[in-house]
Amino acid sequence: MAILVTPQTKVLVQGITGSFGARHAQLSLDYGTQVVAGVTPGKGGQFFEHKGTKVPIFDTVADAVKQTGATASAVFVPPPFAADAILEGVDAGLELVVAITEGIPVRDMVAVKRAMGGSKTRLIGPNCPGLVTPGTGPDSHGGCRIGIAPGYIHKKGHIGVVSRSGTLTYEAVYQLTTRGVGQSTCVGIGGDPVNGTSHLDVIQMFMADPETHGIIMIGEIGGSAEEEAADWIRQHGTKPVAGFIAGATAPPGRRMGHAGAIVSGGKGTAEAKIEAFRAAGIGIAATPSDMADTLLKMMK
């Protein structure tokens, strides 16, 4: 097993004909992911073709789900239309909606989260790299890749990785893979202040997943999601967790790239998060170069 998605998961891509969506739909197909449908309003009936594979395009997510049985979606729709696209996926009864789009207004996400209350759909992101459950082929081919992460750096195995950031997640995954250690699932939850899935949500899934034996949790300054996850781990954690917090050197009051990465009113500092990690028995990586080694030492 893995969490959230398996190599059998049928994926649709919202915004498959845009340049960004198309590029990553191709890369997911190359990786061996079951990309079964695309959605672009007005282009229903056409096909998205890539190396001999013809992926049908639909006008609505509901049509795509009905015709193909897709259960997960990757949203590559531009910011002004992204909230609508997410809610369309929720309405169509998808199990998982992964919003890659960066730059969605906070107010739109506040409304989306409220509208999603009580639905069975899980949202990951927005402003996230997506997730990867590695496959068994060469360079982890045959896995499920939803989003923009480089598939080939993964390796099938037993470490779960959760992070807000894209490239920092790749860094952790790459450290694991080059040490011969594989991953169960790697999840990027996104750098926005309002997101669908928290560190805690993913940590709980990893703890419940028999195939996951250890976890790397990467956080950053801003908010208190890392503290909440750490507090839960302190009380209920059953597996080794190593952590890293980015932004110890960031000046307060400045937004460090990610909309959510800001220390304001003395809240959300790296120190407070590292302290919460320590209290929960989470192994602290002193530098981002030590993420994999910190966990592997704990698992010896």
Partner: protein, 400 residues
């Protein structure tokens, strides 16, 4: 994006929020005209406020020695004298840094007699993804201090975004502030207007500190926003052309403005090791690792997950305009992006900018061997690092 106090008050006024009578101006002649108008309308006392984004204006000092960025004037001559000493002059406050900010606009307003001060703000509560209204009887002071020492003096009301602020919620807040009678009704209307400003303008934060009960020249008590601060959600500015027009580039660092033209996220810091990184998380942790090994980062710079050749060149130019930079660390994890394309971009950028400072490059990811080959055969004297730790230690050593 942040806006000036006078602009915040303009927005609040549009949503029916009471603010003291007054107008912004950029010349002494205008200041005189507005002051005259306000005195003629019955105002006994005026307040003249320097419009800069930094806080601590009241206790600030102008570089020519004039004390105070917010001053009271009892007469027209006083008002003009103050305007002369503010407009075009540089104000230094505890938040501006020693260079200060040039005051190009002042707000001239009626200074009504303040009877009581409160605090009122609307912001996003990240913990439950809902708008939060915070109010306190402790106004005019640092709210973070109130939150720490007397948290019971802060009342909180969360708004359900599906239905918006309900009238009873505004009544709860007004009651908690101890307001009665006409002031209670005025406060309810004002709270609703402040919330509406937050929602309709896509604000990140609306802060009224102080909100105050004032006595008008006619002796009537009213509740008004004496000071106001609004920060906007940058992601939503595309649908607020009017608010975007309020952007004051003079308040932003020129290098940061230049960087934003190339979709680069650059923030200047105080150190001497510049870094150029793809991805916000990796960029933050590159700064951290430089510090970990005893160095000091000169900036945060995220060239984006993709990073094109043009962006890398622009990034180098921006980094090199900072005179305190003594060395550069490039840290790229090319996941999808071809490392050789990045390497070619780095080589071209170095040649184009005539870089002479020590440059440490750490490349990892897609087609990394070709990228390293490109760097090795470029004829440039750059240092390569295998891991982030290796690269960080090398750049710290090179800078000395």
């Amino acid at each position: 994006m942040n806006i000036h106090e006078y602009q915040a008050k303009q927005l609040l006024k549009q949503y029916g929020v009471a603010v003291p009578p007054g107008e912004p101006c950029t010349t002494v002649a205008e200041a005189r005209a507005i002051s005259e108008k306000l005195f003629n309308a019955g105002q006994k006392l005026l307040v003249i406020k320097s419009q800069i984004h930094a806080g601590g204006r009241g206790k600030g000092t102008f570089t020519h020695g004039f004390q105070g960025g917010v001053k009271l004037a009892k007469t027209l001559d006083e008002a003009v004298h103050i305007a002369e000493n503010m407009l075009g002059k540089t104000l230094v406050t505890k938040q501006t840094g020693p260079d200060g900010r040039v005051v190009s606009t002042i707000l001239v307003a009626g200074a009504e007699k303040i009877k009581r001060e409160f605090y009122l703000a609307v912001l996003l509560d990240r913990a439950n993804s809902r708008p939060l209204i915070m109010a306190s009887t402790e106004g005019g002071v640092d709210i973070e201090e109130v939150a720490e020492k007397t948290p019971e003096k802060i009342v909180k009301e969360w708004v359900d975004p599906a239905v918006g602020l309900q009238a009873f919620q505004a009544r709860k807040i007004a009651s908690a502030l101890g307001l009665k009678g006409d002031l209670f009704n005025q406060a309810c209307k004002l709270i609703a207007g402040v919330y509406k400003t937050w929602w309709e303008c896509d604000a990140a934060m609306v802060e009224i500190n102080p909100l105050a009960i004032c006595e008008t020249p006619e002796g009537k008590e009213t509740i008004v926003c004496v000071d106001a601060k609004i920060g906007l959600d940058d992601n939503a500015l595309y649908r607020h052309k009017d608010i975007l027009a309020m952007r004051d580039l003079a308040e932003e660092s020129p290098l940061e403005v230049e960087a934003s033209k190339f979709s680069l996220n650059y923030i200047k810091l105080d150190g001497n090791i510049a870094c150029l990184v793809n991805g916000a998380g990796l960029a933050m942790s590159t700064m951290d690792i430089i510090q970990h090994f005893g160095g000091s980062p000169a900036n945060f710079l995220d060239v984006g997950g993709g990073a094109s050749k043009e962006q890398v060149t622009a990034a180098f130019k921006i980094i090199l305009t900072d005179p305190s930079v003594k060395g550069i660390l490039v840290n790229i994890f090319g996941g999808i992006m071809d490392c050789n394309v990045i390497a070619t971009g780095i080589v071209e950028a170095v040649k184009e900018t005539g870089l002479t400072l020590p440059l440490v490059v750490r490349l990892e990811g897609n087609n990394v061997k070709a990228g390293q080959q490109t760097l090795a055969t470029s004829g440039l004297t750059l240092i390569t690092g295998d891991t982030m730790a290796d690269a960080a230690q090398k750049v710290v050593k090179a800078v000395g």
